[in-house]
Symmetry: C2
Subunit: 287 residues, 2 copies
């Protein structure tokens, strides 16, 4: 549990003075991590003991414990408050993207719906056949990634980014299969159509998408991914990184559920690679 999460929870119950301290944390974070208790108290117009009490309230041992926790969490969590990169220099652009990506992961972690994920893993592991759908570049990448990750575990899976194919496949799917689809925006009408078709045929449907969106509403199970997109049109896509990580989580959980089968399959894949390439078995499972 990190401090900002705790702060969120306690928010309502804070007193005036404590709220002023909280405001400083949120608005002038850089100051807060570097300040001494006296400086922080001064800025918030409260006395040092009040700051100590505030820290205790947030579950910290002492002020210094609080500062450490703050610095740890915030390095990642608070960066989204920062504006666009300072320049177009490679170093700045790189820093900006890495930071945004780490932040996307941080936000994903905080908002993960673990029970939906577990349910998803369960269904995928037991499915007789999996259809993974996604379109539009980003989600189509997710769909094929899903295939890439799951076929290695010995599961039967195909992916498609083609709307017509998706509809036909949805129509062909059977109740023991699973249809899983991704949509960053949640507004992929064709995917909604495929989901609806599948549900009519009692084929279970899983959506990786924004909660409350049309796609989410059309699916049996939704693994929500609700991240604020940056507003630079040139790279709207640290979200992709969060999706890829989510895929990893799901794939890992599936792997644990089908372990014996998976190990055997992986061994065969590896063997094939070694024979096919240069005999060096240090290489990854799939380049």
């Amino acid at each position: 549990m990190d401090i900002f999460a705790t702060l969120q929870e306690e928010k309502g119950r804070l007193s005036q003075s404590e709220n002023r301290i909280a405001d400083i944390l949120l608005n002038d974070f850089e100051f807060a991590v570097n300040a001494s208790i006296i400086e922080l108290a001064g800025k918030a117009d409260v006395s040092p003991p009040t700051v100590t009490r505030f820290c205790r309230r947030l579950g910290c041992e002492s002020f210094s414990d609080f500062k450490v926790q703050l610095a740890r969490t915030a390095y990642i969590g608070m960066r989204y408050l920062k504006p666009e990169p300072k320049s177009q220099e490679p170093a700045d652009v790189a820093q900006d993207i890495i930071t945004k990506a780490q932040n996307a992961l941080f936000l994903l972690h905080r908002s993960l719906d673990l029970s939906a994920i577990e349910e998803t893993a369960e269904r995928l592991a037991k499915a007789e056949m999996i259809y993974a759908f996604g379109s539009g570049g980003n989600s189509s990448m997710i769909a094929s990634e899903l295939q890439n990750r799951l076929f290695r575990l010995g599961l039967r899976i195909t992916s498609s980014s083609d709307h017509s194919m998706q509809l036909m496949m949805a129509a062909a799917a059977k109740p023991k299969d699973v249809l899983i689809g991704s949509s960053f925006s949640g507004r992929n009408a064709e995917l909604v159509r495929a989901f609806t078709l599948a549900r009519e045929a009692r084929v279970p449907t899983i959506a990786l998408t924004q909660s409350g969106s049309p796609v989410a509403l059309a699916a049996d199970i939704t693994v929500p991914v609700d991240l604020p997109e940056g507003n630079n049109i040139y790279r709207p896509t640290s979200t992709r990184i969060a999706y890829v990580a989510l895929l990893d989580i799901i794939a890992s959980l599936v792997a644990y559920r089908v372990r014996p089968q998976a190990t055997a399959t992986l061994r065969r894949i590896k063997q094939q690679l070694v024979v096919h390439r240069d005999g060096d078995d240090r290489q990854l499972l799939g380049d």
Copy 2:
């Protein structure tokens, strides 16, 4: 610049006592971030003033400044020392994957070769046609991601994960084109062949791969990605996340170089999406 990097640099010049302090930071980090100067000094068998001096040497104002910096950097940077996830519970698996992903980004950032990246962006922006190659699931994802990111900027690009096609395309490419290929392992012999073929025809080649590997050696420019893979065979792939981030960096830099063209293209793509879908223009550029 983070503390551990500075520590690395100063390492040789440290005195005995200072080295003992450094050891504690490296080996018992958890203790170090939480300790007071007295506790830390005690454990290192030095006096508190020595610790203060040590902090100054590392570029910090004071001990407390040092602690803040330490806590900030280390939250991400030191996690790779941690072992495998505690259990197969969704929460633990999720935490493990998120942490590994963040760490991969951290390591990527630290090891980025910015000049190679800049050169790559420059070449891509000026290319008359771009061929993006990658195979084996992971790298094929990178290749099609590259296409996904760059066509939006108005660049001419195609991607292929098919070895035979790659060879034919390499043979068809012209000197003003660019061939860019990805290989996580650096041991994709077919990609090496494609690169060699292209170089013979004076087509510039760029590799995203492990430095020093066969693929790297076969390319004109290498953007090195050297990350230690985790050893859990079920998910060897936080590296993918680093590659995706690297792609974002490259794509952003390319975008800045072709800005007017890119803006126009993006506008047309967006318009097409709005018309094609439900008229709601809040959606992303490509789902």
